[in-house]
């Protein structure tokens, strides 16, 4: 139970945090069509997050933060709103501030290319719940990836300004990319026990796909150095950037003000 729960938190937190960032585009996107598209993606990821957090809680109830006796807060919300940043298990890539539309596009491209590869393999999970979540997620994330790739191309081949920004956007997110492929002990266990995927095994496939998008866009692969871990840990160990704490301060403010509230 514990390893499965820990693994579900990793994938669930990735989806939750990225969804939150994308949802911040609501009423801020470049046009209405994009307001709708980004909300769609955010909703898909939020749906994945809810299923994954619920699975984590079912697999190991001890991961759910304790709330006052009689609190009606369901496990998914206890996990989302009553954990501190050091208890979140998402990669640091997804927690950064949105930046401009090019940064968001670049981040979505890296994340969804990775996640699509991951979910495709996760359809074979020995855990039937995870397998079902993955099967549903593959269709969703394939769209996210296409959307990001199309925009990446559009910006790369649009105007001089958009090309400059697309390059800068890739430079912002690229240093955090490799963390997605660093195998955490929990992921190693998950792969061993057949309920999860070793992300290191996805790196080559993902790289081919990214290279393809970059080359059609005429974009060079960024040369910025990777962002190192924090001591011996990174996002999957609860070692995050300063951005996550600020994000959670906002995200959790209402829920925490009413720990026995019904919503």
């Amino acid at each position: 139970g514990a390893a499965l729960a820990a693994y579900c938190l990793m994938l669930g937190d990735d989806a939750l945090v990225h969804s939150h960032r994308l949802s911040q585009w609501a009423s801020n996107a470049p046009d209405l069509e994009e307001d709708i598209a980004l909300a769609n993606i955010a909703l898909d990821l939020l749906g994945q997050a809810r299923l994954l957090l619920a699975r984590a809680a079912a697999a190991d109830p001890s991961v759910v933060p304790a709330l006052p006796a009689g609190s009606p807060v369901p496990p998914e919300d206890a996990l989302a709103f009553f954990r501190d940043d050091a208890d979140f298990r998402n990669v640091r890539l997804v927690e950064g501030e949105n930046g401009d539309f090019a940064v968001t596009t670049a981040r979505l491209l890296l994340f969804s290319t990775h996640r699509l590869a991951l979910l495709k393999r996760l359809r074979d999970s020995v855990d039937p719940v995870l397998a079902a979540i993955a099967a549903k997620g593959v269709k969703e994330v394939a769209y996210h990836r296409d959307h990001a790739a199309r925009w990446c191309l559009t910006l790369a081949r649009g105007t001089e300004e958009s090309r400059r920004r697309m390059r800068a956007g890739l430079d912002v997110v690229w240093p955090l990319h490799h963390e997605l492929f660093r195998t955490h002990p929990v992921e190693a266990t998950a792969a061993e026990q057949g309920f999860g995927v070793d992300p290191a095994g996805l790196a080559a496939d993902v790289d081919v796909l990214l290279e393809q998008v970059l080359s059609v866009g005429g974009l060079d692969r960024p040369t910025v150095p990777p962002t190192g871990p924090l001591g011996r840990g990174a996002g999957r160990d609860g070692r995050h950037t300063e951005a996550l704490g600020r994000m959670l301060a906002e995200m959790q403010v209402v829920a925490r003000a009413h720990p026995t509230g019904r919503w």
């Binding site: 949802s23 609501a26 909300a39 909703l43 539309f101 300004e161």
Partner: protein, 320 residues
Amino acid sequence: MMTAPAQAEEASFEATLARHDRIEPRDWMPERYRATLVRQIAQHAHSEIIGMQPEGAWITRAPSLRRKAILLAKVQDEAGHGLYLYSACETLGVSRQELTEKLIEGKQKYSSIFNYPTLSYADVGTIGWLVDGAAICNQVPLCRTSYGPYGRAMIRVCKEESFHQRQGFELLATMMRGTDAQRAMVQESVDRFWWPALMMFGPPDADSSHTAQSMAWGIKRDTNDELRQKFVDMTVPQARALGVTLPDPDLVWNDEKGGHDFTQPDWAEFRDVVSGSGPCNAQRVAHRRRAHEDGAWVREAASAFARRQQQEPQQQEAVS
């Protein structure tokens, strides 16, 4: 003097209205009918777009994941409504771009309700219940409006608005079953939004400059006061079911008229808000302007890319 063909066109227009049938984009229509429609549809579209802000501000603070999903989907629907309505407006020969410019230059209005702030999560529920409720009262008759594209857009919009209204009510009902603090939050929110919600039907009939002509043209089907009365009568039992008090001590059932008597909102405040002095007018327009300006480089890139794709169609295949 009208020419004979023109006279025939006008007669056909009037006949369509008389049959309660739809005017379509290619049909002849009087210039003032067109202008009135553009004004009204644009204002409606702008309201959807500006309306994304007060609720959108709470997406990042929604206190449960379920509520976050509901709210995000609702704000997304509003963007969708804006899209349909701008499209309806485009059938009258005005582009979305032009309308957006007018909005951010403050030359076209949007519903004054969105010039009030959202100050607690209960406001998300109250906007669903009261504001969407009032919008539905306004909009259901518009499904039968005389201009085809507008009427058809409204059918779609109304369906989704009813859904939002029920979700808003359900949020408030859930909060009322929660803690004392939550109940107080709901009541405070209703106290704040009741009067602005009543204002959503526009000024009293006696002061409404557009109503008569709009009704003659079949653009509007009911007067402001008729709709307001309907809204109050519909809302009172819902408030009772929720367990909230509407902040009007003179709100009572009047058996004789078969409806409730109620206090009029502060029409001086309404005029102030409409003329730009609402608590959030400047903020709302500045937000939209900033988002529009921040996105300019993206829209330009998309246009440039599309032009390039048309010129080099073989590239497109290589890409997809």
